[in-house]
Subunit: 397 residues, 2 copies
């Protein structure tokens, strides 16, 4: 069945509607101001969505085609990731099991499809890592040229990753990325796969890919009590929330989870916006190793998710995230520090108000961390006595 | 349904049988000699295997429990990886989509289960990377101490990976690993998850995990004409072959694929053993960047797979593997060099004798390669003129 998408509508005022194409890549023209840009979202002909869609065992994104924007670009088997039980009632949604080993593959299937649908000559993305590599992979698969505006301090292993798919990788200073990106969009006609506005709006079709995470969770354990989400600009947070609200809209459930955004305490613009009752704020984030979710401003999507779901905007220190990262790796799951923010959030909240299972979303593998590969292995004297001493010193016997 | 495994039998002489436990970790005691060790395999009560097992959409290894050794250790959602279409009739089985991003997770679920089943105080593995990290992850999940005998030249990023799960990582010279491993097995009672013998026998339960790849391929596209497999000691090659022969044994198909082993030309002991009609050979491998499949000796499992399937033992140069790696990454799939040996093998053979779809198995992500992270990104002057010049120089407009 083909897509039932029938338009775009403003997130600030749902009565303001636009056609489905072209995708609005600078947010809602009517409601956005100098200070704040409001995103749009994709709307569907929900009355025609077949309920059987949700009775299947989850596969990749193609399975949800009726309730996604048109999937014009070919896929790489993105989505359909496992839900791993960590302890009684606590699950980890392992997004490192995607084609480029992060959640970003869900978004890029949809946004590269948008570029292909409008016949764009190429795509451009500003990214510190996962998003850029994923965009490059889907662009390569679709045969579209791709420009990645990376940052000069990209960890070397991530640099290899971003460069692997044949994209044009241009490392520049963080603040130079958006002006360059706008120019590439305006002068070369390339389709932007990441944000162009002062406060975050992102791509109109992006969260549509993320909402399939909610469908998958629902088909495995129903509606959880709460979902904890590593949060940068809040696209993943909003996307998962949108998925659950659609399930409610379709009459498949009456409940929805509380959504907890998990930001690095070093910045946490969403937490500040929520605390101050503002749609968006700018700030200057301090240092954190959770570089994948280290943001100086938030998006309105995050604000409405936390508000409408009755959740909370959490701030996590690097130490809290490191403890969660260690807890995960000691049970066989190795994620980058940013990914561990979700379990860190759960540990901060504890069992308070928990009425059922909870899900922590883990976005990406440990390979993306800044410290990876920085230290060679400590050599060891291979004599038996020495090995035995070392094992005993490590507490083995 | 619980496991229908009912014993171990010699691969050299199927009439020689042993009980299911303890797992024979030094091959078949009765047929092995000073020069050559013969492996054993797990046998099942095939008459009781429910045929409905193969009618389901593939999930993780637990789905195949009746036809696997007892899965005593908890899983991490291993298996159920996607089959990606590369071109008409050519598929890539993407094993980088496992819990530790390689095929090794299938083997370690089974072998760590063996250790848990016999109450071993810990596990030990000799590995250059993927196998060690995967063993460490499943041991951590099962709460078992794990010793990884790494090599001193492990790439730094892989060193971080292997160390992440809390194992005791001991980097030693390649030739020191087996003696130390035997000592750890003999004196500490740790269960070995990798080979202990002079020619390769590996763990009796290992290929059982790999055979689920055949079940998954079968449920998606039936029996392919040929399967190309990155080949080190031939466990994966044999495991996939065993899965297809079981499907035939169970009456689900009459056909079986031709199996092509894909070794680095720098060594290729299996190709030499096959050419000389020997069960196993020793040689001194030259330099290759395909370190994950760089072996000085082969296992008997590979010889019988190539022989019985009517396939061939291929040798691939690093240049051939690099061309295949590049071809894959330009369609959105980034694998380590060793993983690209399978597509390199297919490109070497061409369409000769192809009677249906073919499958290339890709074992692991590009993050594991030796060159990853070695070179920082080239900085770029962020002025528009300079960016435009650089893009034009790269052929963009």
């Amino acid at each position: 069945m083909s897509s039932l998408a029938n338009g775009q509508r403003s997130l600030f005022d749902a009565s303001i509607r636009y056609p489905l194409t072209p995708p609005l890549t600078r947010g809602c023209p009517e409601t956005s101001t100098e200070e704040i840009a409001y995103p749009v979202e994709v709307d569907y002909d929900y009355g025609r969505v077949p309920r059987e869609l949700f009775a299947q065992q989850p596969g990749d994104l193609d399975q949800w085609a009726p309730i996604l924007p048109p999937l014009v670009a070919p896929g790489l088997g993105e989505g359909g990731t496992p839900l791993i039980q960590l302890e009684d009632g606590v699950f980890v949604k392992d997004e490192s099991r995607n084609p480029t080993w992060s959640h970003k593959d869900r978004i890029n299937r949809c946004t590269v499809s948008a570029a292909a649908a409008i016949g764009a000559p190429g795509v451009v993305v500003a990214s510190s890592g996962n998003h850029g590599a994923s965009a490059a992979a889907f662009a390569a698969r679709a045969g579209l040229p791709c420009i990645v505006l990376a940052t000069a301090d990209t960890p070397p292993a991530v640099g290899s990753f971003v460069s692997a798919y044949g994209a044009h990788v241009l490392p520049v200073a963080k603040e130079e990325r958006r002006p360059l990106m706008r120019r590439i969009v305006d002068e070369l006609g390339f389709h932007p796969l990441s944000n162009l506005t002062e406060t975050h709006t992102g791509h109109a079709y992006g969260p549509e890919g993320y909402k399939t995470i909610a469908y998958e969770i629902f088909s495995e354990i129903g509606v959880p009590s709460a979902v904890y989400v590593p949060t940068g600009y809040g696209e993943l947070l909003f996307g998962v929330w949108k998925g659950f609200t659609e399930l409610r809209l379709l009459g498949l459930t009456e409940r929805a989870p509380r959504m907890f955004s998990c930001e690095p305490a070093a910045g946490a613009p969403l937490a500040r916006a929520v605390a101050q009752g503002l749609p968006a704020v700018h700030l200057k984030a301090g240092p954190t190793d959770a570089y994948a979710i280290d943001c100086d401003f938030n998006g309105y999507r995050g604000v409405i998710t936390v508000r409408d779901s009755g959740g909370a905007a959490l701030s996590l220190t690097d130490d809290e995230m490191r403890a969660a990262q260690r807890e995960l790796s000691r049970t066989g799951l190795w994620y980058e520090l940013s990914s561990a923010s979700s379990l860190a959030g759960l540990r901060q909240v504890g069992e308070r108000d928990r009425t059922g299972p909870v899900v922590c979303i883990a976005t990406s593998s440990g390979f993306k961390d800044t410290g990876v590969g920085a230290r060679p292995l400590d050599p060891v004297d291979p004599t038996w006595d020495s090995v035995l001493r070392r094992l005993k010193a490590a507490g083995l016997r």
